[in-house]
Each structure stands twice: as structure tokens, then as C-alpha cells.
């Protein structure tokens, strides 16, 4: 499937947003939810939340509070090994005492006893090894390695319930994608 993205003048953009807004467009019933999703996709409007779950990973682009909610549900059994592009002092200012295992120029690898992985969000960007899983965070972009599609879907299910979205998990055999837009207010789920 091809995706068309277009650049439009600001005035036209405002007219478009008015036409697809809940208050002026969808609320009046002049546009369906499916059409809204199609417009959001094809106009290139950036989704607020984009999630992809496969048998090897979960990729989430979302505001940090949603990513934090997902990481909070992780139960960490042992210490976390993580890297950050900052020095030890900066790391400790954000998350507390750490045991440094490697340090380079403006770079550190450390071990940290974190009861919940969301504490690491304060670093802004990190790569962490948690109970054999690899977590990479760059601001609002999280990638999490998983052991199988079932584990990936469990994680996404929790996130979707926070967004009050029901996922067709029974239809998912290989990959699931979820996109949520604010303007227009709509979402789309794709299951393979």
C-alpha cells in the first residue's frame, strides 16, 4: 500500500483541519471515522501514538507519559545495565547512584538497581538490558525486544487500554500496528 504525503499552505491546512475536526466535521456526521482515519493517514498528519508489535520487538512512538506507563508495568528481577550519552554525574543527578562499568567521552555504561524501568526515562535517551531484553529509548521513541508475538501483544494491549482502544488480537498472527491521531481525533489498527 502506498502512502501519499503532501505539503499544503497554512490557510489550506487550517481549512482542512476545520473540515475534519470533531466539532465542525465529524460531529455533524458529515464524515465517518473511517474517512477521518484515511484523511489523517493520507494527508501525512503525524500520529500522536504509533505502535508496532512483531514477534521480535515492540516499537512505540508516543508521549513520555504513555511510554512511562508501559515501562512501569515491567517487573525487573535484577540490576539493569544501561548506557547513556552523558557522564556519570549527570546520570546520578537524574536517577541516583549507579555502578559505572564503562566510561568514555560523554558516555557511560552503568548498572543500576531500578525497581521500575520508567525511572530511566529521566535520562531522555538510553539503551538498557533488562532481564535479557534490550530497550532503546530516544526521547519519545521506544523499542523493546520481546520473546514472541504473544509477549509483544500483551504489552500493546496494556497501552491500548490506557487509550481506551480495543485491539482485534484474535486477527493478529504476525504483526499489529496501531496509530492514534489527535487532529483529526481518530485511530487505526492494522493486524496481519
Amino acid at each position: 500500500m502506498s502512502i501519499l504525503k503532501v505539503r499544503m499552505p497554512e490557510v489550506l491546512d487550517q481549512l482542512f483541519r476545520r473540515a475534519v475536526s470533531k466539532r465542525f466535521g465529524a460531529f455533524k456526521g458529515s464524515i465517518t471515522a473511517g474517512a477521518l482515519a484515511a484523511i489523517a493517514r493520507y494527508s501525512g498528519v503525524e500520529p500522536r501514538v504509533a505502535v508496532m508489535a512483531t514477534e521480535s520487538s515492540v516499537v512505540i512512538d508516543a508521549p513520555q507519559e504513555l511510554i512511562g506507563g508501559l515501562l512501569r508495568r515491567l517487573i525487573i528481577k535484577g540490576p539493569v545495565t544501561a548506557t547513556a550519552r552523558m557522564n556519570r554525574k549527570e546520570v546520578e543527578e537524574r536517577i541516583g547512584r549507579v555502578e559505572v562499568t564503562y566510561s568514555g567521552r560523554n558516555y557511560v555504561e552503568f548498572r543500576h538497581v531500578a525497581p521500575q524501568a520508567d525511572r530511566l526515562l529521566k535520562l531522555g535517551a538510553f539503551r538498557a538490558e533488562v532481564d535479557g531484553r534490550d530497550i532503546v529509548l530516544e526521547e519519545d521513541c521506544l523499542t523493546f525486544s520481546v520473546n514472541g508475538l504473544g509477549e509483544a501483544l500483551d504489552m500493546v494491549k496494556g497501552l491500548a487500554s490506557e487509550l481506551k482502544i480495543t485491539l482485534p488480537l484474535f486477527a493478529c498472527k504476525r504483526k499489529l500496528e496501531l496509530y492514534v491521531w489527535d487532529e483529526p481525533n481518530t485511530h487505526e489498527v492494522m493486524a496481519e
Binding site: D61, E138, C141
Partner: protein, 71 residues
């Protein structure tokens, strides 16, 4: 023992590939800021702080990710 910045490079490369498999493309800004720039920093660190063996290992880890695309 694999150096942490070599593992970082593999992780960021894997992240880049994962985003490319999505139905809806992330924005150019997202690709540049969250995916490409961190990988560029990893490559610089491998060149600055790593050994020839680290560089070879990084290439091998990236190659494993490349093979996953075709499998």
C-alpha cells in the same frame, strides 16, 4: 566481551529497520533525530574509542540485523 557502544550501534540500527517496516512512515524529523543521529554518534564512538576488533564486531552485528530483513 562486546563493548557497550558496539551494542548501542546494533540497537539503534535495529530500531531504524523496525521503523522502516511500519505501514505509516515516521516523519523525516523523527527518522533523523531519533534514529539516524544516535546511530551516527555510535559510529563516531566506535571510530574514536574502539579497536579494529570492535569495528569488525559492529559490522557483524549490523549484518545480523540486515539478514533478518530478508528472512
Amino acid at each position: 566481551m562486546t563493548k557497550p557502544f558496539v551494542k548501542d550501534a546494533a540497537g539503534h540500527f535495529r530500531n531504524l529497520i523496525a521503523h522502516s517496516l511500519r505501514e505509516y512512515e515516521p516523519s523525516q524529523e523523527h527518522i533523523l533525530k531519533r534514529l539516524i543521529r544516535p546511530l551516527c554518534e555510535d559510529i563516531s564512538r566506535i571510530l574514536d574509542e574502539g579497536t579494529a576488533a570492535d569495528a569488525k564486531e559492529a559490522a557483524e552485528l549490523l549484518s545480523i540485523e540486515c539478514k533478518r530483513i530478508h528472512s
